[in-house]
């Protein structure tokens, strides 16, 4: 089944990176067909940042996201752009400290940026917390696959920090 995932936030949060890591995890470690795309433009510098991943058991032909099944939203701007048009059975994982509105679909509030900063000491891993939360909330790929995707993508020396962030993401969903 085709599953479309939209990632949105602002430049510098690692939105595109998280889409690439997630796509890699699904394609190489969960044996799925994957197409990953991004909005590639002047707005990628500092303004809005958008990435997308499509996952399927069969070859993906049309490469662009049409109507997302899952949203990962890390800014109010990102919510304004995508969050108001969700279909009723969509699932949204949102950074509850940065997104003030709530969608009409099922959603999970994850204080990723606050936990990254206060508990892990590095706000930069908020995107990895969101990936952990995404996988825990939707099961769209396996936890082991996500772990491999992260470990083969992040810079050397940051593996432990990123693993802690991923596990935080799993746990924040279990608490809900």
């Amino acid at each position: 089944m085709r599953t479309e995932i939209r990632f949105a936030g602002f430049g510098g949060q690692g939105i595109i990176t998280s889409a690439v890591i997630f796509g890699k995890a699904a394609a190489l470690y969960d044996n799925k067909y994957v197409v990953q795309t991004q909005v590639y433009g002047p707005e990628a510098r500092g303004g809005a940042a958008t990435g997308a991943v499509i996952i399927d058991e069969v070859e993906i032909l049309y490469p662009k996201v049409v109507d997302p099944d899952i949203y990962v939203i890390m800014s109010q701007d990102g919510f304004d752009k995508y969050g108001t048009k969700t279909k009723p059975d969509a699932i949204m994982v949102l950074d509850s400290g940065l997104v003030h509105d709530r969608p009409n679909c099922t959603y999970y509030e994850v204080p990723a940026s606050r936990v990254a900063k206060e508990d892990l000491g590095r706000v930069i891993v908020a995107n990895i917390i969101m990936l952990g939360a995404l996988v825990a909330a939707t099961g769209v790929i396996g936890r082991e696959a996500l772990k491999e995707g992260i470990l083969t993508s992040v810079p050397k020396g940051t593996e432990e920090l990123n693993m802690k962030a991923m596990i935080q993401g799993f746990e924040l969903i279990q608490k809900i």
Binding site: V20, G23, K24, A27, L28, Y33, V34, V35, Q36, T37, Q38, Y40, G41, P42, I60, L61, Y62, P63, K64, V66
Partner: protein, 371 residues
Amino acid sequence: MSKLEFLQGNIACAKGAIAAGCTFFGGYPITPSTEVAEYMAEALPKIERGCFIQMEDEIAGIASTIGAAWTGARSMTATSGPGFSLMMENIGYAFMTETPCVIVNVQRGGPSTGQPTMAAQGDMMQARYGSHGDYAIIALCPATVQECFELTVKAFNLADQFRCPVLVMTDEIIGHMRERVIIPDSVEIIPPKPAKPTDLPFATDETEIPGFLPFGSGQRTHVTGLTHDERGYPDSADPQRHETLVTRLVHKIESKRHEIADYEIVNPDAEIIFVCYGVPVRSVQQLAAQDKTIGYLKLRIVWPFPEEVLKQFKCVSTFIVPEMNLGMISREIERHTTVPVVSAGKIGGDLHTAQELQEIANAYKATRGRT
């Protein structure tokens, strides 16, 4: 053991080049092709005799690529619309001097600087006719990231086989999207035809393709864009000399177009046949999965145009041609068939959806129903 990787199209092109034995890249970065140069800048210095040069502009980029080919290296450059325009004169020079080299054009919206970050297929006619004078060209059009890898490898082989510049015409969507790619341990490499020590550098046999004597091969070679004799010496005022040379250069490619042809046919007995190349192929395949009344021809090589293939569709009543331009290859198809051709051009950067293509097919079916 082949390897699975998760790559974007531009990187797959670069990896294809490295796999094919490319040791030289000369170019000037331009969106949306920059990742090709970035990867080559990292990879080439690690390879024996590997060399990457960022030149002052695209004219110098293709010039250095041609120069490197004459040292015997497999060489490549990559660019997009505005840079492709600047390369036109030297692409003609590469054709005239029978220089094997590969040019990747990651197409973006034009004319002029147009839409740097959006996809298009607006350079397809420029690819064929953009340089001055009579010439022929080979142009490959990948529709997947896997094909970016495979067709770049193939481009190097065709360049050496036919001794001509070969174009890989991709676009911003394929260039920047990531997919799973199978990277084989090794790829088939077809070397250029060797020359005998007694051969003149531009003397040919019945194949019309001279053996390759790059600089340093121990034999006299002279290279010029002027009309030249078999030694490579200029002889530009003899009408017969020019006619013989340019006719051979065009003929060595055009006469082999059915051997060069690379395509896929699905449901050839359909009445409605989509003809597609590059990224719109994906929308056509999506439609074909839903609507069994349509068939399609997917071209992996657009130039030289394999017009004989059109005859394989015995029941066709219309060809529909979705392209990310206002109708270019649709005209080429019109030239070769009496069957009505519907151009489904779309510009702006968004790919045709399967739904849009379905509507075009339905509109055609409705007109058929009335007559």
